[in-house]
């Protein structure tokens, strides 16, 4: 077991190195003349040469690669072409807002997805199962950016129930002292027991949260359903049933436990997708997070910023994959 975990962490590091290598190739090989882009279109050849020296682009590739890794280890992602600010600092400012909706969506996926999967499995091939199956495939087929617009149309324009976007309403930002501890408003307002801000922040997170949660909800529901169906067919369940144990008890006490592994794995993996999906919807909800940062970087072709976000997201993704594998390894039935 320990040996497996150790081995898995080592491969995780190797994969991460691979990711970094690919981003290096993308950052240094694909863009033509990064130094010229750095100084802008009106620069003289001398200025471009100076910039090349400053950015270390005049050195041979292997040296550049070594420097690149050294910088990354120091947490240095370079500077944005657009703002000329260190990307690491900019990311740190945008990450909490994104983390907030990702976590919110994750919780929704657990609260809705797992029960949906359980009921679907219990009612296999009945109406509810078909509806839930359709829903789970539907939710992974929906373009997130369209769902965002649709929800705004219904809940803001037609019903007037929820705000169009932003993290707080204007009044709250003017009349209240908004705390900033973790950068996640829901958490910060709870820590400082500021319930007016909590309520306002909660109202604002509902629409983006639901939008982002649809994908993992569908995935988790399907996984729970199929895992549960498989477990319910096992011999040990049949023998428990033969003792006359009630169906409810069989489900909750004996079957469900053994579906948690695959469900947890899917949940962890879907977090990576959720993170990337925020890139599509944050601008729609004027949510000041990573997605908004990416969207601006994309329209201004600010490639160091895009690569910075890529390294961050890919690192998260690799770590999540690692966690998912370790969750599987925790299953005592699996011998490693």
């Amino acid at each position: 077991m320990k040996k497996y975990i150790f081995k898995r962490i080592i491969t995780g590091i190797i994969v991460l190195l691979g990711v970094i290598t690919i981003t290096f190739i993308m950052a240094r090989v694909i863009p033509s003349d990064p130094a010229a882009k750095w100084v802008g279109p009106k620069a003289t050849p001398e200025q471009i040469a100076m910039a090349e020296k400053e950015l270390g682009l005049d050195k041979p590739m292997p040296v550049q690669y070594a420097n690149y890794i050294r910088d990354l280890l120091k947490g240095n992602l370079g500077r944005s072409l657009r703002t000329k600010q260190p990307i690491t600092q900019e990311l740190a400012a945008y990450i909490p807002a994104t983390l907030e909706i990702v976590i919110f969506g994750f919780l929704l996926a657990v609260i809705i997805g797992i029960p949906l999967g359980i009921y679907s499995a219990k009612q296999k091939d009945k109406m509810l199962d078909h509806v839930s199956r359709f829903f789970s495939i539907g939710s992974v087929s929906l373009p997130a950016f369209w769902v965002a617009l649709f929800l705004q149309l219904v809940f803001y324009k037609k019903l007037g129930l929820l705000p169009l976007g932003g993290r707080l309403s204007l009044e709250t930002t003017i009349f209240y002292n908004v705390p900033d501890i973790t950068g996640m408003l829901l958490l910060d307002s709870l820590i400082t027991s500021n319930f007016m801000i909590f309520k306002d922040a909660f109202i604002h997170i509902i629409l983006p949260g639901i939008t982002i949660a649809l994908y993992p909800i569908g995935l988790v529901a399907r996984m729970t359903r199929s895992a549960l169906l498989e477990v319910l067919n096992e011999d040990y369940i049949a023998s428990i049933r033969s003792y006359g144990v009630s169906e409810t008890k069989v489900l909750w006490k004996y079957a469900l436990k053994n579906t948690l592994g695959p469900t947890a794995t899917v949940l962890t993996l879907s977090l990576g997708y959720t993170l990337v999906n925020t890139f599509l919807i944050e601008t729609i909800f004027s949510w000041p997070g990573l997605g908004n940062y990416v969207a601006t970087a994309v329209t201004t072709l600010d490639y160091p910023a895009i690569i910075g976000v890529t390294i961050f997201s890919a690192t998260c993704y690799v770590i999540l994959n690692l966690i998912a594998d370790l969750i599987i390894a925790l299953d005592p039935r699996i011998r490693l």
Partner: protein
């Protein structure tokens, strides 16, 4: 070859086919998805001839008609240039289906040979190819596509390339697994015994025998790929105006949202229906092929 031998090899195939048709009949949702896809493909092929306003595919403007709500004349209303959104959405089917096929096709073209070589040769070559595959798989596909297009420059062609680059590793994995099991089969060993060169075995025996699972996988991937194309276009990284691409249309429509709601809603509905049809089919096919569910 003896005729009865041929008959025997064909027989199980017919049986599987018949069974699949039976399962398809029983599984209504999958059958509906299949009909839907046939309709979508038909629309994609025929769209230039059946849309009510073929001239509205370009950026020709009829400003006096702009932002007309849905009506009998314009089923989905009109956009900021007074163009018929219904015509543009129907034509968008052609754009999405063709780019989807190109992107998946390209990914398959990269994935198959690499997987076949890795699986058949094994050893160091296998190690190297599979580790590279792992590296690419450690990016969320949409993210990799976003970075690549923003570096290559935004255009539909670059979006196709970027999607292929982020999708090929799945096919490599699939084909490699097939190739490894094929390698142990008698006919491959026989070919090796009579001294057939490796490249010939890979081209003539390994690859043709991996095609059908690849086609199944590719059809299941179409939904995700079409969604990715729409997402890239929505970010401004895919199709460029005046191409009637669904994601791009929604992206432009945001300027006029929510007052001109029909401009955003109908193209999105088209994406949803198309992707859903492919995903439902993929799900059904998986169920039909899965021996566990097949028995019951």
């Amino acid at each position: 070859m003896n005729y009865s031998v041929i008959k025997e090899t064909i027989k199980p195939k017919i049986k599987v086919f018949k069974e699949s048709i039976y399962l398809l009949r029983r599984n209504k949702l999958t059958a509906i998805a299949l009909y839907l896809i046939l309709a979508i493909v038909l629309i994609a092929i025929l769209s230039p001839y059946i849309i009510p306003y073929p001239e509205h595919i370009s950026d020709e403007a009829n400003i006096q008609n702009k932002f007309m709500p849905p009506s009998g004349k314009h089923f989905f209303g009109t956009d900021e240039l007074g163009r018929d959104i219904f015509s543009r959405v129907l034509y968008g089917t052609r754009v999405s289906i063709s780019t989807g096929i190109l992107a998946v096709g390209l990914a398959v073209l990269i994935g198959i040979p690499l997987g076949a070589i890795a699986g058949f040769r094994g050893g160091v070559i296998d190690e190297v190819i599979m580790r590279i595959t792992d590296m690419f798989l450690s990016f969320p596909p949409l993210l990799l596509a976003i970075v690549l297009v923003s570096l290559l420059g935004p255009s539909l062609n670059n979006a196709i390339i970027a999607i292929a680059v982020s999708w090929w590793p799945w096919y490599t994995r699939l084909v490699r697994g097939q190739a490894i099991s094929l390698k142990e089969r008698k006919f491959i060993q026989a070919a090796q015994t009579i001294g057939t060169p490796d490249y010939k075995i890979i081209l003539k025996h390994i690859i043709p025998n991996t095609i059908s699972p690849v086609i199944v996988q590719a059809s299941m991937d179409m939904g995700g790929v079409i969604l990715t194309i729409a997402s890239l276009s929505f970010l401004g990284l895919g199709a460029q105006p005046p191409t009637p691409e669904w994601g791009l249309m929604i992206s432009i429509s945001r300027k006029y949202f929510p007052d001109v709601w029909w401009y955003s809603i109908f193209p999105g509905l088209a994406i949803f229906v198309t992707v859903l049809a492919f995903n439902l089919l993929g799900d059904g096919v998986r169920e039909i092929l899965d021996p566990k569910t097949r028995k019951k």
